[in-house]
Structures are given as C-alpha cells and as structure tokens.
C-alpha cells in the first residue's frame, strides 16, 4: 500500500517510477503483479480527440468608456454574454456568423468556436465585436477591437464533458452516405468510425474511479488543471467486461485549466463535414499505483476493451437501442473489423499517436518532479444512469 503523499515525496525527490499505460502492460507481464506493484508509483494515461462539450471563459478588462456587453462575436463567432460586463463564454461548437451550415449539404463548417480557441492558444490575434444597450454606469454601446490571449485578464478552459470512458462505433447500414461526428460513413457498412484511446484512455485504466475524482490534477493540453465535477451524461451504471471496464460510454469528467499555459499542438479546431465544428483537446491523467488492485486495473489492454457497433443511419438518431455487434479495440486499431461476415474498414477520430505522445510527456513531467499528483476531494458518483429527455405534449 502506498499513499498519494508518499508517491508525491518520491516524485519530488526524483525517484518515482513512472510508466505509461502502454508500457505497464508488458512490465507487469514480465515482473508479476506483486513485484511490479512494489516498484511502480504512477501510470500515465491520455487521450486526444474531439470534445464537443468544451468552451472557455474570457475576461477582457474594462474599455473606456465602460460597456456591459450584451452581444459579442469573436472572429464572427458568437460568444455568450449573459454574464458580467466584460466576461464572455465561447463554446467549441458555435458556428461562425453566416456559416451556411447544412443548407448546402454537406456543409464544410470550416471555422467556429473551437478554431477561435486554437487561434488564441497559438498566440494569434482575434477580433472582438460587442454591442450593448448602454446604462448610466456602462454607457458604451458598441466596441470593435483586436486582442491576443496575453491581453486578457483570464482565459479559462472548461469542459463540462471530457474523457468519455468508452464510446460506441458508428456504422452506416443504409444505402446512402451519411456524415456524422464520427466521420463520413459510406453506405452498406463499408467503413466505421470510433473515438477512444483504448488501453491508454484515462477512465478505462481506473474504471471504478478509485483515484480519479473531483480535484484530481490533470494535464490539459500542457497546462495543469483539474477535474471540477463529474462530466455531463456521466452514467457509470452500464455493462462492464474484463476488469470492470465498461463497454459503453459510461463515465465522463468535467475539466478545467488555464488556457494561457496551454500548448497549441494539443488544442485544435475541428471541422466535420456535414456535421459541424468542435475542438480536439489533449488530456493526460496520472494514476497513482496505491496497491496491486490499482496496478491490475492499469494493465487493461486493447483486446479486452469492447465497444458496441451502432447504425448511425437509423438506430442512433431514432434511439432504438439496437446494437449491431461488439468489437474490441485491437480489432478496431488493426484497420478492419468483421461484422456479420463482412469486412469493414475502420477509422479513428481520436488520435492514438497523439495520446501516446501525451502519456510520454506527462511521464517525463512526473519523473522530473514538475507534475505532482493530487488526492481527490470527493469521489465521482459510481451508480447512476442517463435519463432520456422528458418530452411533453
């Protein structure tokens, strides 16, 4: 048994043994669980993929004369201003003003909230256009200026939902192509789209949320942030397989960190043809190896993680609950899966290569004493499921 405090001491003195969630699999195979649990202190996990539920709070400081912003656009992308005078909230999936969306189907969705965030973090200049009705104390009615992230007082990223524990695989059984957030799907189940880092994914390595909870320090695109809550649609009550790993969406995390400290390589605007805009974000989460049980959880491998294949032409939008089949991540990553005797090509939306890179960066930061672990201040709910919408009338 080790405590987080003991592990932190080892990290501070540069003695911590840190492996990535990929490396730990072979290490435990070689050394045996008991011996490895004595040696290994931390396992790093990561994921790098689109997170639609992302946004940021920005504070601009006061203009002269002051303005209480009631409508605002950042590079022509509308930002929410129903908060304090010069605070704005920018959402990742917000389209640029006048984007034809899917009027000209399938739309290109070249630029939106996620792209503005990418520009900000890359240090580029962004235009603010703001309107107001004017008050005695805030007489300004219109404002147009340009700024970079350095000009802001605060730029705080918030992801109400991130790090989906697992996710389904999208396929198209109809006879027409469809455009989804898991990519372009050819008719007659010719290809499928998935989005998970599998064996590297944070919540698949801690499936019962033993070490990841509210207050856990995380690596968010290079900045040190933390889990501030369970994520939206967190629904841990689900079907679970080997080592208790869910075969459905299951748990999610709400994350936050300072955008000024982020690395633009891991914050990328996403344009999904026919679907919309989003943001891809790199996340790394360290798992303290408290005991053998915890180490065992981190040895989960792709072939033991299952995902459900769902028809996005009918069953997904109509919420029929029908599942076409179950595959594992080793099959998905091989490039082809077999479904009902048919070969289906696979494509991933999240970057496994990117997740590997993040797990290695976090490993190095912990080894060198730059990144310390934190004890959660409260656990994530372990029993709850997602309710469908209540529709009246």
């Amino acid at each position: 048994m080790k405590t987080v405090a003991e592990i932190n001491e080892k990290i501070s003195s540069g003695r911590a043994v840190v492996l990535t969630a990929e490396e730990v699999i072979d290490y435990v195979d070689k050394k045996g669980l008991e011996q490895a649990a004595k040696e290994v202190d931390v396992v790093t996990t990561a994921t790098f993929g689109p997170m639609c539920s992302s946004g940021c709070f920005l504070n601009f400081g006061h203009s002269k004369p002051k303005i209480r912003i009631t409508e605002a656009w950042l590079d022509d992308v509308s930002a929410y201003s129903g908060i304090a005078a010069v605070d704005l909230y920018l959402g990742a999936t917000q389209l640029r003003h006048n984007d034809p969306a899917n009027l000209d189907y399938p739309g290109d969705f070249r630029f939106g909230g996620g792209h503005v965030m990418e520009k900000l973090i890359a240090g580029k200049e962004v235009q603010l256009f703001a309107l107001s009705y004017g008050t005695d104390d805030y007489p300004g009615r219109e404002l147009r200026t340009r700024f970079t992230i350095d000009d802001l007082n605060q730029a705080v990223m918030v992801n109400p939902r991130n790090c989906y524990q697992n996710y389904n695989v999208a396929i198209n059984a109809s006879d027409k192509p469809i455009y989804t957030y898991l990519g372009y799907l050819k008719p007659h189940m010719k290809n499928c789209g998935y989005s998970s880092a599998g064996q590297l994914s944070p919540l698949l390595n801690d499936p019962f949320y033993r070490t990841i909870g509210v207050g856990t320090r995380v690596w968010l695109a290079g900045a040190q942030g933390h889990v501030y809550s369970e994520g939206t649609q967190h629904s841990p009550t689900c079907e679970r397989g080997v080592l208790g790993v869910p075969s459905e969406g299951a748990g999610t995390l709400a994350l936050t960190a300072d955008m000024k400290k982020m690395n633009p390589e891991f914050v990328r605007g996403v344009s999904l043809k026919g679907y919309g805009v989003s943001l891809s974000l790199g996340v790394g989460i360290p798992i303290p190896i408290l005991d053998e049980d915890m180490l065992k959880q981190t040895t989960i491998r792709d072939r033991d993680i299952k995902a459900q294949v769902i028809d996005y032409s009918t069953d997904y939008p109509q919420r029929t609950g029908k599942v076409l089949g179950t595959v594992n991540y080793e099959e998905l990553k091989s490039g082809t899966i077999e479904l009902n005797g048919q070969k289906v090509e696979t494509g991933s939306l999240s970057s496994y290569a990117g997740a590997r890179k993040i797990a290695a960066i976090l490993q190095e930061e912990i080894r060198s004493g730059k990144f310390l672990l934190s004890q959660p201040i409260s656990p994530l709910p372990f029993e709850q499921s997602m309710k469908p919408m209540k529709e009246i009338g």
Binding site: K273, S334, G335, G347, S348, L349, S350, Y352, G354
Partner: protein, 139 residues
C-alpha cells in the same frame, strides 16, 4: 519496354496553352503512356494538370523540354495534394477513405500516419474527411 520508367508530374500553364493538344503530342511524338489524375483550368485561365507519364528516360526528358519550350512549368517534386505533417493530428480518419494507401498507418502499434505522394491519385477523398485541414489541394 523493360527500361520504361513512370514519373508523376504536375504541369502548370501560366496562361492556358489549351490551343496545343498536349496529351496527343506526348503520346504520338514522344511515345509516352499517360494517366491523367486531375486537370483544372481556373477562371484566370491558368491551368493545372497532374499526370503519370510512362516511357523511356530519353523520351521523358525530351518531352519535358518540349513542354518547357511552350512556357509550361513542369514540376516533378510538388504534387497537387499536400499533406501538412504539422497540422495532421494522426487520427487516421482519412485512412479508410484513401483508395491507394497513399495515406496509411504502417505500424499499428504506434498508429502514426504516413503520406506517400507517389501513391496519391489525387481523388481528394481525404480532403473531404480530414477534420483538421491537414490535407489540401493546391488548386
């Protein structure tokens, strides 16, 4: 025919040379086999043509000189489809849509993406599906 070589080239016509039946001459006068991937004439009357030419080294050389004498720019290095390694996040979304394996994942343990422009037939499928504008067409 065993000493035949195949080259992928991009022709750029500053002001369109459409008057001259270029492909006809390449086949007839220089004994080349032509496989056209993509052609475009812009409203500014510029033209692009991306093609494979197969023939003897000498004939390809002479044909290239003839094209250049017409004011056509022959580009053997640049291709019409570009992959930007820095913009690519290595997701692999494009891979099942690439018909030739020009975009591929050679090592399934690292899942890193490789782009081989000599295999690219410029079908533009990847441009449609890449969420990060990592692949673009120069025309």
């Amino acid at each position: 025919m065993s000493d035949n070589i195949t080259k992928k080239i991009m022709l750029y016509f500053p002001e369109c040379e459409t008057e001259s039946p270029i492909v006809y001459h390449l086949v007839k006068d220089y004994d080349l086999m032509i496989n056209i991937f993509r052609a475009k004439v812009t409203p500014e009357e510029e033209g692009y043509l991306v093609l494979d030419i197969t023939g003897s080294d000498g004939n390809i050389h002479q044909a290239t000189e003839w094209l250049q004498s017409l004011g056509i720019i022959v580009n053997e290095t640049d291709k019409g489809v570009k992959w930007d390694q820095n913009r690519c996040v290595q997701c692999g979304s494009c891979v099942p849509h690439c018909p030739t394996g020009a975009l591929s994942i050679p090592d399934r343990s690292t899942m890193e993406i490789r782009f081989e422009s000599n295999k690219c037939i410029e079908c533009l499928s990847c441009i449609k599906v890449c969420p990060y504008e990592a692949v673009t067409s120069i025309f």
